[in-house]
Assembly symmetry: C2
Homo-oligomer: 150 residues x 2
């Protein structure tokens, strides 16, 4: 399967297919390589914590749009997270229809703990690569990110 992908990626036409497959596989692997013990938060709940970590804070509607979820669903998720002490809710300063959600210290800690745990597995795998392969990835990471934001 490796050689096949390599050959595929040589042509411009095949690069998209090869890259998509590789990214999907690695992403799936990274998602499944997580501590089965400390899974108190559902994937959807954790996704919102990660989102808040990136955005700082956000209104319920914005969270719903980002997660491609309907507002009532996000209300429920946020309520669970608030009960668990992971996030706080407060009314928007100027527009009091909106409800602004922000990470609590506990929520931030949960995000960082999960992040460290996932980095741990990947870092170990990276140490098994050759220096040349690591260099390839070092240069590829920003390009992958560029694609993600394109």
């Amino acid at each position: 399967m490796g050689p096949t992908l390599e050959k595929l990626a040589r042509t411009d036409a095949g690069l998209a297919s090869a890259l998509r497959v590789s990214v999907a596989r690695l992403s799936r692997r990274l998602r499944t390589e997580r501590d089965p013990d400390s899974d108190q938060l559902s994937p959807g709940q954790f996704a919102v914590l990660g989102l808040l970590d990136r955005l700082g804070e956000a209104a319920v509607g914005e969270l719903a749009a980002q997660e491609r979820v309907q507002p009532p669903s996000m209300t429920r998720t946020v309520s669970c997270l608030e009960e668990g002490g992971y996030v706080t809710r407060r009314p928007h300063e100027s527009d009091r229809r909106q409800v602004v959600v922000a990470l609590s210290d506990q929520g931030r800690a949960a995000v960082e703990a999960e992040r460290r745990r996932r980095d741990h597995w990947l870092a170990a795998r990276l140490r098994e690569l050759t220096p040349e392969e690591r260099q390839v990835l070092r240069r590829a990471a920003p390009v992958l990110d560029k694609l993600a934001h394109a």
Copy 2:
């Protein structure tokens, strides 16, 4: 955020973190960039079709294990797919407890159509990159795949 990631990836310690973030972002983007019309199959159902496309054919238990789902759930998913004409079920030749699932022609066509649609978006984004950036990705794809299988 781009420069930050680039700097982070320069050190071995930061590479894991930078790569994980980039792969996760691109994967999310690739997943959301899909035709909203022709979504008759649920994500779980489509995942099984993709799995069968890779494995050729598989027993219900094997599909359940690969998708990290309990056997009764996979039975249900497979039943739906069979009703839709996407897969076939037949008893295993030597061990008649097992039920072997395989893609039908329609199922294979559905997988390939979805695949082409997803490639389309990524191929367009790749054309917007510089030749050097595409070369970086060409070399990175097999390494990403190696990590996924590590």
